[in-house]
Amino acid sequence: MNSSVDVEAAARNFLARTEEHLVSYLEACVHCGTCAEACHFYAASGNPKHTPAYKLVPIAKAYRRQKFPLAWLGLAPRIGPSDLQEWEELLFDTCTMCGRCTSVCPMGIDIASIVAGARQAFVAAGLGPKDLLAAADSSRDHGSPLGLTAQKLRERMEWLADEHDVPIALDKPRAEILLTISSIEVMKYPESVVAMAKLLNHAGADWTLSSKGYEATNFGYLAGKADVARLMVERIVAAAEAVGAKTVIVPECGHAFGVLRWSAANMLGRALPFAVLHISEYLAQLKRAGRLKLRPLTDSITYHDPCQISRRGGATEDARYLLEGFAEDFREMAPTGVYNWCCGGGGGVQAIGRAADLRHKVFKIKMDQVEQTGAGTMVSSCSNCRLTMDESKEHWKWGGGLASLVELLADHLESGGART
């Protein structure tokens, strides 16, 4: 087998993050199996190995090994390279860290957060999907997983502003708001950036993009590379501080929101000097303030809650508030909101090529859900969801429509809005 798997390094890495709550979670599992049914991977595959609790086995074992009182007798649970190799796929390919299992766990164990920690340990051992790791490295080296360097950003923004006749503020010296973007959007759904600019301009916000820190997507976090994760956060913080932003807006990207809103301060060890808002949250604020004038949307739509924004981000209601009185034929999926089925591509899974088949199977759940509502279009506010769905849609040759919430809103802005 692969002798380059460094089990000790994995253990050390995990140990470095053993805090009370993590250990409680590891020790409390009663092996009731309830989490299986909640997991979209298990639901799609029926493979018992996709049970979330099972995915934690090596990490729990490694921890027990450390604290086992009779370890000196050689009685401690053993864990070897082959164990880690077996679990690499389970931890990376078959978990989007969407936290649906957390919602159902009768013990209240937050499995998702353990997986995040476990991934780091696995990477330290020399494991992890190559494409995912490459995306992280690319983020580190080029500022973005998809190679969107500062230079390319400037070119792209200039082109988009021209193309769409929308002012896109970049590198303004001072601004109230620092807008960040996801390179997925820039590369695959550029209209999304345009839409954000339109909306911000419509509301008359004082905003800017910064070439010092623009990439919100954090592949360091997804790939289990803590250093990269931190670096990505530091870039944005530096940029925001440079322009004196009071608010940093995260684009339609789930994990980006999760990392920046809830983890960044902990990564840095200090509170952030600005508020972090998801674009949907910001738009809801605008709407509440009467700064968002929209024409009604008559097409039938349904809304897909991105896990990191809704289930683990707490912004479930903002999206619905935006749709209220706007989408005249809005249909909820079942389940929805915090219990929504995941797209299957979050947590970096989207970037793992070998995971595509399973991902497509998971999307089948989504397709069925949408079809049950009869809605023509499924709207999401996460470009990663959107990308995953697009690919799977193609795989299944599905005819349903997919749309971005921000784009939809931007397209229905009443002309003559509150532009200043």
């Binding site: 409680s24 099972y54 209240g108 809830w262 509170a271 707490g314 915090v338």
Partner: protein, 219 residues
């Protein structure tokens, strides 16, 4: 020394010692670990940690609506044997006397017939739980010796208690001794295996609820 004397005396003493040691050890070795401080800014409407933890504890008593179809019977069964065990442990006059002997606390007992009925139901429920563990591929995969042994030491006192109550199979003192020995085994094993979840559940449910509620997640 007769078996009953051994059971009532040294066996229980050792078991209680093992129980107390284990609980103290596991809780302290856990609680004295570093506690991470969440530096993210909580949502303005987030409840206090205590309220969040309490709310979360109650919320997880019952599966949320979307999970009910798959989890209803399992949850129900879990409740049946958990509540059943509580009724049997805290409702039978003899058990109250046991607890009174240890802590000096007592309360009115339930009719013995009712407790016997609950014991039978509890045992049946535990059997269902075991059967599910053995039959379900998921549970088979994630189950360890700890799970099966913990099941055994939980079911044994119920079974031996029923035998003792009904004077079935042997002389009462022998049955009572078995029962007390099985209780001793349960106590001695309790903190070292998964039964410790009885304590940990307060931590895990509470902490996840605090995490979620400060994020504004209603789950």
């Amino acid at each position: 020394m007769s078996l009953l004397e051994f059971a009532r005396g040294p066996a229980l003493e050792i078991a209680l010692g093992a129980f107390a040691f284990g609980v103290a050890w596991r809780l302290l070795s856990l609680l004295a670990l570093p506690w991470s401080r969440d530096r993210s800014v909580a949502r303005p409407a987030a409840p206090s940690a205590l309220a969040a933890a309490a709310g979360g504890f109650v919320r997880r008593m019952w599966p949320a609506r979307p999970f009910r179809r798959s989890d209803l019977w399992v949850t129900l069964n879990g409740h049946v044997y958990h509540i059943g065990l509580a009724i049997v442990v805290f409702g039978l006059a003899q058990h109250i006397q046991f607890i009174k002997g240890l802590f000096g606390l007592q309360w009115p007992n339930l009719p013995t017939g009712l407790v016997s009925l609950v014991s039978v139901i509890t045992l049946a429920s535990l059997t269902v739980a075991l059967a599910r563990r053995v039959v379900s591929p998921v549970l088979r995969l994630i189950s360890t010796a700890n799970d099966y042994f913990s099941w055994l030491v939980t079911a044994l006192p119920v079974a031996t208690g029923l035998l003792a109550q009904s004077h079935l199979g042997a002389r009462y003192e022998t049955l009572l001794a078995w029962h007390l020995l099985s209780v001793a085994l349960l106590l001695a094993w309790f903190p070292y295996g998964k039964l410790m979840h009885a304590f940990l559940v307060f931590l895990t449910r509470g902490e996840t609820a605090i995490l979620y509620r400060r994020r504004g997640v209603q789950s």
